[in-house]
Amino acid sequence: MSTDNRWPVPLIDLRLCDGCGLCVEVCPVDALGMVDGKAMIVKPDACHYDAACEERCPQGAIGLPYLIVLDDLPSKDT
């Protein structure tokens, strides 16, 4: 789990995750894996944020955070 604004990855609420593995199956870049019966981002650099995991998760345990920025902001938000 990460809340790094520069390169965020999907947030997984481990309390909600029931380990069904559907997110791992649906991820097109294999960024997700199962660790100790819970979904984890195992390859954060591979994740390209297509939201397939979020849409597939039946528990609502996965969320993709978006940073809301103005086009004219300096690069500190990037």
Binding site: N5, Y49, E54, G63, L64, Y66, I68, D71, T78
Partner: protein, 232 residues
């Protein structure tokens, strides 16, 4: 997510930031601080559920709280966020009823709790607390009227447009309406809708050129168009 770290302050100074007590003499503020119980909580810690008996008035010393209602199907409606120097569970503290909403920590949070009986005693003893109470409740009422207006009269796309503008402005102003980093689910909980509708609304705003959706960013590219869509 940005954090709300603050330097530890004396109890009197913290009490002075609370609208209910800001007009009191410093010595009396210390008296208020003495009846308060200070506790620290981790992130995502449920402080109380709606419907439970009221423990008292909660004051945020540091951190961030989310106050919300939960529907029968599990959907969440965020009422407001509460940051340092602000209070929550005011309604139940003053009317003696059950907690009208649930409260959860968004990040590690330090709270002060003043039990209902102690708060009532302070209210009877110091009239300025009563005057401040009217001001606090008027502000809350104004916020909730705005929420009703949004949920009743604005389309989901208009609500999303308004939220994007508010979040961006609030993040720049460093207010408690942070974070500017939000998931579709969090937006849905703020706007009385479901995650799928948020995705549709964002695509509609992108289609008219008001925003640009990047990997992990929603970029406001045409503020005027977004304001028009938000019906501001």
């Amino acid at each position: 997510m940005e954090s709300h770290k603050s330097v530890s302050q004396s109890p009197g100074k913290i009490i002075a930031r609370i609208p209910y007590f800001s007009d009191l003499e410093p010595k009396i503020r210390e008296e208020v601080a003495e009846v308060a119980i200070r506790r620290s909580y981790p992130a995502n810690y449920l402080i109380f559920n709606e419907g439970e008996p009221c423990a008292g008035l909660y004051i945020v010393e540091d951190g961030l709280m989310r106050i919300f209602k939960t529907a029968w199907d599990g959907r969440e409606q965020v009422l407001h966020f509460v940051g340092p120097g602000q209070t929550f569970n005011d309604v139940a503290t003053f009317d003696g009823g059950p907690n009208p909403a649930s409260a959860i920590t968004v990040e590690p949070t330090v709270l002060w709790i003043i039990e209902r009986a102690a708060m009532q005693r302070l209210l009877r003893t110091y009239p300025s607390i009563g005057e401040a109470t009217v001001r606090v409740f008027a502000a809350r009422m104004r916020h909730l009227i705005g929420l009703v207006e949004d949920l009743s009269f604005r389309s989901v796309t208009a609500r999303v447009a308004k939220l994007l503008l508010q979040q961006r402005d609030a993040a720049r102003a460093d207010s408690v309406e942070r974070p500017a980093l939000m998931t579709h689910q969090e937006m849905a909980a703020r706007l009385g809708t479901v995650r799928e509708m948020i995705g549709r609304a964002l695509r509609a705003l992108a289609d008219i050129g008001a925003i640009r959706i990047e990997r992990h960013r929603i970029v406001i590219v045409d503020r005027a168009a977004l304001e028009k869509k938000a019906e501001l």
